[in-house]
């Protein structure tokens, strides 16, 4: 037995050395970018000619949108429907691939699309800062334009569109501080965010601390919830139980979690642990369900941002990249959409609040 095993090993080793290890640095083929380096429009254009040319540029282009989760998730449904409407009018082939909240699957889908070169523009939605680095590289090598939404990832694709979450956090925290002073509540708050190490949670905490620290407010605890309502609700119930009226507001990073925290606070108030309306719940973004919770008085205010705008901006950027003719990966831009603080008083007349799934 010994003899066979050693013979086997030596054979494998020699095969390795003989073949010589080549390192495939991914080839340097620039890849014939879809745009082909030629601008679609010159300095000026005829009226109807522009319409025809735009359509021609976009006709038959394949565009794929790969969100974290699509089915039943209002945020991505909103974006998806906007893109569908826009690209549908332009005659481009638009498809959504749903990885069902499984990063493993999202990475596979992107790999599959890039390997089969089945798409011209990729609209990506990154769950974490460092997830999509290799994929965006591969897409650029394959000459596919990439537009990233929601969170800035360390590997910048052709363009990033999202919300200026730090600034939004600062606005909503200032609003929370005003409410607390109005009520004369103690200068203590609690933060409830996502996994705690992803960019969204970090920016939210940075924004909150930017306002609270100079104002002398103390952050009691920072509870991490993996964006799960169950964990958010348990954390809120425990903290309320422990602090009782010793804190004046919850700063929740994600609007759906805010509803769960609102329920917990309302429940605690109903059971008499805290005085009713003594603890405010502030969050970012505002979809229809959050607005219902707002009208029901469970939550206080939110820094709503223009979700619809993100979808439109992504469509516009895609068209610019296609018409721009610059090869994929040559330009990188970061752009933010508008946001504003919304509460029960102005929720009905702010257009960008209470976005729906359609």
């Amino acid at each position: 037995m010994k003899k066979k095993l050693t013979a086997l090993l030596t054979a494998a080793a020699t095969a390795m050395t003989l073949a010589g290890c080549t390192v495939d640095r991914g080839g340097s083929s620039a890849g014939g970018g879809a745009g082909g380096g030629k601008q679609t429009f010159g300095r000026n254009v005829q009226l109807f000619d522009a319409h025809k040319k735009t359509h021609e540029a976009m006709k038959g282009k394949r565009i794929a949108f790969v969100p974290i989760l699509y089915k039943g998730y209002n945020l991505t449904l909103n974006w998806g429907s906007t893109m569908e409407r826009a690209f549908g009018n332009l005659g481009a082939d638009f498809r959504v691939y749903d990885p069902n909240f499984d990063t493993d699957k999202m990475v596979k889908i992107i790999n599959d699309l890039v390997a089969r070169r089945a798409v011209d523009v990729l609209i990506l939605h990154n769950p974490d800062v460092g997830v999509l680095t290799k994929q965006i590289d591969a897409a650029e090598r394959a000459g596919i334009h990439t537009v990233v939404v929601n969170m800035v990832s360390s590997r910048l694709g052709d363009a990033f569109i999202g919300v200026d979450s730090v600034h939004a956090a600062e606005d909503i925290t200032r609003r929370a501080v005003q409410d607390c002073e109005k009520r004369g509540a103690p200068k203590r708050m609690a933060i409830i965010d996502g996994p705690g190490n992803d960019a969204a949670s970090l920016m939210w905490s940075k924004g909150v601390h930017h306002v609270l620290d100079p104002a002398g407010y103390e952050v009691v605890t920072t509870a991490h919830t993996q964006w799960q309502n169950a964990l958010a609700q348990q954390a809120a119930a425990s903290i309320t139980q422990q602090q009782k009226n010793n804190i004046c507001a919850y700063m929740v990073a994600y609007d759906l979690n805010a509803i769960a925290v609102g329920d917990a606070v309302a429940d605690a108030a109903e059971r008499g642990v805290i005085r009713p309306d003594s603890i405010g719940v502030y969050t970012m973004a505002a979809d229809t369900r959050w607005c219902d919770a707002l009208r029901a008085g469970k939550v206080t205010a939110s820094a709503a941002y223009d979700v619809q705008g993100v979808g439109e901006a992504a469509v516009v950027t895609a068209q610019q990249l296609v018409q721009g003719g610059a090869p994929a990966g040559s330009t990188h831009t970061v752009a933010y959409v508008s946001h504003t603080v919304v509460d029960r008083s102005n929720v009905d007349d702010t257009t960008i609040a209470c976005y729906k799934g359609r």
Binding site: T221, T225, Q234, Q241, Q243, D263, A264, D267
Partner: protein, 338 residues
């Protein structure tokens, strides 16, 4: 040849004497210690409200653990409980969101849970598929099937007026309804296991399947009964979870913390996976222990990864203790006892 008088009882080693003690009391003792440590270190722990909140949170996986214990007593295992609990709860909310009346939705989903229980039973009892794979597969099938067929929302909130939300709010005879329901389930399970024929035969079947079968016990229907009971209790636990949370998210895998917690509660409670051993009191003790542990971890403000680590470490210690108390007899050890 006179009859040899067997007088001196074999002197028990401390380990055997410890093993004979009902594991339930043992765990209750440790829980009390944990409470003391908790009260000393974190303020606001021993307040009435916090204990009540702790009990309310641990009611759900307590009920699930009872269902799991009934199956494990019969030397099976049921990994589909999480799938059934969350899947059916989400489906009920989905139906209610589509305007179906609440009781009709609950009845429909109870039917689904029953079917899953019966399918599990048939697979394990009649087709003799290893319980581990059968229930794992049916759990995934349930939650995946419901996700594809019924759910079209990612997030469902529970209308305040519904009976499910009543489940956890308000109180009966001064005791919050959630804890009352959990208590009732524990008592009923205890009566079933200790005083009904089916319960006793389930334990006998778990201890030695062939002897139970040759002594005329209806082993296969009993196994099916065990899985059906486990599925229905999972449904109840699902409703309890949803009513405590007030809403539910549908992006969850079958190895959800709920399943993991229920299994470890059962094992800590002394219900050993080799079947036939353990009591419902032990499961209650296990549930309290894990409830207190979770609450302390949250109150200490540990991040969820750290919580997992600590909970994993504690549970490994508990299982190691159980393995040390009831060592697996090398002589009769069979390799396929997973």
């Amino acid at each position: 040849m006179g009859v040899a008088a067997v007088d001196a009882r074999p002197d028990l080693s401390p380990r055997d004497r410890l093993a004979r003690v009902e594991q339930g009391f043992f765990v209750l003792g440790i829980t009390a210690l944990l409470c003391l440590a908790g009260a000393v270190t974190t303020d606001g722990f021993l307040t009435g409200g916090n204990v009540e909140n702790l009990l309310r949170l641990s009611a759900a996986f307590g009920i699930l653990a009872v269902g799991e214990a009934v199956v494990i007593l019969a030397k099976g295992i049921d990994l589909s409980v999480a799938g059934v609990a969350l899947g059916c709860a989400q489906a009920t909310l989905a139906f209610m969101a589509d305007g179906m009346s609440e009781w009709q939705a609950i009845a429909l989903l109870a039917g689904v849970a029953l079917v899953v229980g019966v399918v599990n039973g048939i697979l394990v009892a009649y087709l003799e598929v290893p319980a581990l794979f059968a229930t794992l597969a049916t759990g995934l099938l349930t939650i995946g099937g419901i996700d594809i067929l019924l759910l079209d929302q990612n997030f469902y909130s529970l209308p305040a007026s519904s009976a499910i939300s009543e489940l956890s709010s308000g109180s009966v005879l001064g005791v919050p309804r959630a804890i009352f329901v959990a208590g009732a389930v524990f008592v009923l399970a205890w009566l079933f296991v200790s005083y009904t024929v089916a319960g006793r035969l389930t334990r006998a079947m778990g201890d030695n399947f062939d002897t139970a079968r040759s002594s005329g016990a209806p082993v296969r229907p009993l196994q099916v009964l065990g899985y059906v009971v486990s599925a229905l209790l999972a449904l109840l636990a699902g409703y309890m979870t949803v009513s405590v949370q007030g809403s539910v998210q549908t992006t969850v895998t079958s190895f959800d913390p709920l399943l993991f917690t229920a299994l470890t509660v059962t094992v800590i409670g002394g219900v050993s996976l080799s079947g036939g051993r353990g009591t419902i009191l032990g499961v209650l003790a296990g549930a309290l222990f894990v409830g207190v542990l979770n609450n302390l971890l949250i109150l200490r403000g540990l991040s969820s990864p750290l919580q997992d680590l600590v909970r994993g470490g504690v549970l490994i210690a508990a299982i190691a203790l159980d393995a040390w108390l009831h060592p697996r007899d090398e002589e009769t050890a069979r390799s396929d006892e997973l």
